[in-house]
Symmetry: D2
């Protein structure tokens, strides 16, 4: 990535912001935002340069995500899913592929998916299920081998961008062997049905609807080319499943401060000391969360999967989520009743911001893991709940 | 009041709760809730027994308001406005009336309004204006004497129950003498136009729309029968302008705890220690806020207008507002993402709860006044902003 | 109790305050404070009128304790122990005694202890042990019957007032039957050795030293006259083991606000808005905690042992402890560096206030129990730790 | 600086920690800690390499300070003063000296002071006065020219290391022209009297006593060689007057977490969920504060005096101070009553940690400045108090 991507994100953010209120109100997908992202070449952000992408690092992704979220957190969250898919695919080095037993054909298939992304396709994630949450070990969506490839059947929930993406990363369990969980990149089209269930407090424009699958995909859509790689990848790349949200919520917090400042200046209320104290403390907290996200991202790039890296990932998730919620609540209080009218950015940001702590791993879970680690324990072993 | 009113409120709350989601979604007025309130005789709650009412004390009002708010905070907020009007009117004793120079005819007119309330009428408050907020000293709505009585012209905002009440308490400034502010009870009907501006984050069912007035009312609709009493009343009865909200937000906080407990029990999540800690602290904070509201209300009944009573009123307003917001945010976090779906009570309560600190006097203003008093100062004299 | 006791407490508080700095610095016992308490007749506060005492209710005790703590929290904590002993003894009604199988002779012995208190004796509590904490079920101090009465042997820790009291409530386990825990009122004198271990962050003047026992007491010093009553009493009267601290910490919080106001006024800093906001919020929080303590105490008097009463007791303990710590920390910040000099009341109060949450049941434990109750569970059954 | 200095700090910290309890108890100066610092060459940390020092950047200083503070915050605070003096002296480039009109002889004198530091001398700061605080514009210490150089007379307070340093940076006002404030480096020796006034809540080993001056110093001890440079330097290098404390308090917070973890593990309490949640949140907050300090320091090195740099400096000061206080309070609560015994590291850290927010600029002042900046204002112009 050159600084080009970051500049593009900064350029797009005001456009996203201008459209955000309507998409929030309608719960409609920000189609124009995604057109802008495509035209700016940002779908290739995480695609290696050798495949036509920008080859961004995780740290560079985090910066871009924060800037996009200053425009519209929902757009940034959906983009985050695409970045997760392409980032995880792109991060599989030849060494890793060999160690995992990934055949060459699968690497070629992977390259085709990434090349398509660089050329303007984007992917969503269909992982969660009702009851199972995001825990891969409890999936009920199943797959089996057929002559045409793989047949998948089941239902996913919280699928951000459902009905708009060009492909979906789907986790499913083998009918032949219940202990085998695999991941597929299912192309948009027949066999996928969107049930518009998403109508939520915040991040309403993500269209995180239910997705029903009864679909057959070509053989090369099995990611890695080998069944059973899903759990392995989740454990190798927890940052994409935990921390990439964090960058988004830093952007949401910063947007709330900016909106409050604009609101207060327009009403000549900037001189009130209670208001100043609120903005000052919000600014410091948000700046801190942003640095923690950047540090986590830097370490993900340098020493992914390391125990210390994981701690930074949890810190980032915890602080971004709690900071966004507290900052938005305080900024709304600073701005006062007139900022609670629908259509006012702070009204939306207050709702959007509350969602960060709730994404897995939740703030309470991150605090528990960090506590275990601070006490010298191993969150994988000592945690009160299975991590995946 | 017998315990009858409190029992009625408890009986009605579940009905209000069942209707709350729809009114919240539509931003529609809870017409059936108000039919229930009428049928239960609760419009006469603050009307003296001698005029057919229940003769409740402020403390009894506070208990009723909290119970109603456990069903629907928006309904309780609108009811609060009616209670404020009837409570303030009912609280004008003969001694006070004499001291203020209220003529007998005005007392008779007052009694007619209260009797009507006991028989099923209810009143809204049209006090705030854009720019002036709730400060009587900066009103732009004007009135002048005509042969038929008084002609009022102007626009009000944040008029909860606009279009549904049987009458509106309106503050206006004399065209003859700018320093004179008077209050009128304007009957519903011609000359009043509701502009549906209310579309807000929370408390959406209050229908707190704009109200445009270009109306002539009979002479006896001047409250007190003497011009210029408005500021006096505001200073005599600050509890109705500051603290009566507090009881509502205690109910909102309690409703959030109840909703979280129900949600968590239904999902077998009651055993999680992080969840328990959240509910435990929320319970303690809410119980404390409820006691403070009750204490403030008790003192309002016993020593209204007293400096120490006012401190309790500010404490009640501050704690109820901040507690409701913090409790609802924590309960939503305890319940998790599935509670953010629209229609889930916690999704609504999180938005409703944020509004409490923003009603005048805001939490920050109450903290300032309390700080001045703790330092031995006089908030009326030393406060950073005019109090009315 | 007439209002006499409360007035006495208010009269004594400034004297305690004047001596507090020295006792805090030296870690010395406030002997003069206890002389004052004796002369004011307050050792008989919880003694029934029929035995020469003031016959105070628990609610009245709570008010007195708060006032004493405004002078010196450490003095109030030690007094609290005496009040607990006399209060628990005095609360054993004839009905209860009969139900527990308490022989008449034991009631007579009890009456002698209470009469002595009314005449100027005071008692300390020697319950905790290293390792066992305050949990009766894990004691290592033992007793056995001898010809002369009972022989007790063991070591207690955190014995407030050690070396100064006229008698000590000691819990011990029978050597004959490990499951039997009994309580004795051991008179001061030979066989008791104080080891001056108490040198702590706060509440330094309590002289909560270790007490070593190797002593024989007359037969009638077995409380209740029947072995094995200890656990029963703990469960019947949890307020004395949990909540009586709460009243003390409300007084500490209020003292911190008063000290900050005096400090700031003396330096003409009362006009700073950040300072005012701190005092205002501290005032509201402290007022709330005080009401919760009063409500808990009222319910203890009316429906002791009731599930709802216990919830109020835990709320009181939780809120008093957390409020005192937060208020004192904020008041010190409001007052600034000059208030951190040793000898300044805020310097001491900041340390004293931190101790409230740590007394059993700790704030975290109370939050857990309250959470269980809010979720419809039973803290006795579902709690993560044994309650006694 | 090579990594040598940081390694030295890490090596020394456990030694400082082992001595910390005694110096805290006695309020005695950590003479051995300073011997260790001298022997490790750390007095030359901020001295340019050309003068025999380590030539550390501000960012490198911050890392060292945090490590030293993990051993003993008081030692680190005194060292911070020396680092401030040598750092500010070393930061005066030839260009800046020329711009300020500093004569060559003064630069040579400056070099002698720095060379002495590299060889084992260390300097304290005697800036604050009773009444004036740290504001240079309100000093009462005066100086006048004499044949022998300069005669200074006055009294300073909060002089950390008083009686132990080899020299003192003293600000004084000209008797000839009240508007001229100059700074001198006064050597230890006759004419300086230490009045042992420092006996405070925390950071007790700093020996921040009063220093009375009635002393004549050689002409070359006027820093800069030109009268009136003091205010200018304060405004050019606010980081040394505001932010260098921050690094120390990050170390204090981290030390509290480490002490709590050790305490809990030793007692097999690491499995308690409430304890884990406390440690986890403390860890995240401390990690965030540390990054903010590092970022502020990095910007101080790259763009000192820049408006954005100053914002980071205020963020660092605000977050380090509040985080240390909150973390230490929570860790003490996690560890429980046994950690409140004097001599336990958490008992000391709880007191030390409270001091961070109180050093100028206080947390409340930083929040105000940050709020002004977030609102687009200029804290220098719009702040409620003069900054120096």
């Amino acid at each position: 990535m050159t600084v080009h991507a970051l500049e593009a994100a900064r350029r797009l953010a005001p456009r996203f912001a201008a459209r955000a209120a309507e998409h929030d109100r309608e719960g409609s997908f920000p189609v124009e935002d995604f057109r802008d992202l495509r035209e700016a070449g940002l779908f290739g952000l995480m695609v290696p340069r050798s495949l036509g992408g920008l080859g961004a690092s995780f740290a560079e992704y985090a910066e871009v995500a924060t800037e996009l979220a200053r425009g519209n957190g929902a757009t940034a969250l959906v983009f985050n899913m695409h970045a997760s898919v392409t980032g995880a695919l792109g991060a599989v080095t030849e060494e890793l592929a060999e160690a995992l037993g990934v055949p060459d054909a699968a690497l070629a298939a992977r390259d085709r998916l990434l090349t398509a992304a660089a050329q303007g396709s984007w992917y969503a994630v269909a992982m969660s299920e009702r009851g199972a949450g995001a825990r891969l070990s409890q999936l009920s969506t199943v797959y089996e081998a057929t002559d045409a490839g793989w047949h998948l059947k089941g239902s996913k929930t919280f699928c951000s961008g459902a009905g708009h993406a060009d492909g979906y990363l789907v986790a499913a369990r083998s009918t032949a062997d219940q202990s085998v969980v695999s991941q597929f990149l299912v192309p948009a089209g027949d066999g996928l049905t969107v049930e518009p269930t998403w109508d939520a407090l915040g991040m309403r424009a993500t269209s995180s609807h239910d997705l029903h699958l009864d679909v057959t995909v070509p053989a090369d859509r099995l990611l890695g080319g080998v069944e059973g790689l899903a759990l392995v990848v989740a454990q190798l790349m927890p940052h994409w499943l935990v921390a990439s949200y964090a960058a988004v919520y830093v952007g949401v917090a910063r947007a709330a401060i900016d909106a409050a400042a604009e609101h207060l200046n327009a009403r000549n209320l900037a001189g009130l000391s209670a208001v100043r104290a609120r903005l000052g403390r919000a600014d410091a907290a948000t700046a801190a969360a942003q640095l923690v996200v950047a540090e986590a991202a830097r370490r993900v790039d340098e020493t992914p999967g390391d125990a210390e890296t994981n701690r930074w990932v949890w810190r980032a998730k915890l602080l971004a989520g709690t900071t966004a919620a507290e900052v938005a609540a305080s900024m709304l209080e600073a701005a006062g009743t007139s900022a609670t009218r629908r259509g006012h950015p702070l009204e939306r940001l207050y709702r959007d911001a509350r969602c960060g702590s709730l994404h897995p791993a939740t703030s309470d879970v991150c605090a528990d893991w960090l506590g275990i680690a601070a006490l010298g324990g191993d969150p994988d072993r000592d945690g009160s709940a299975p991590r995946w």
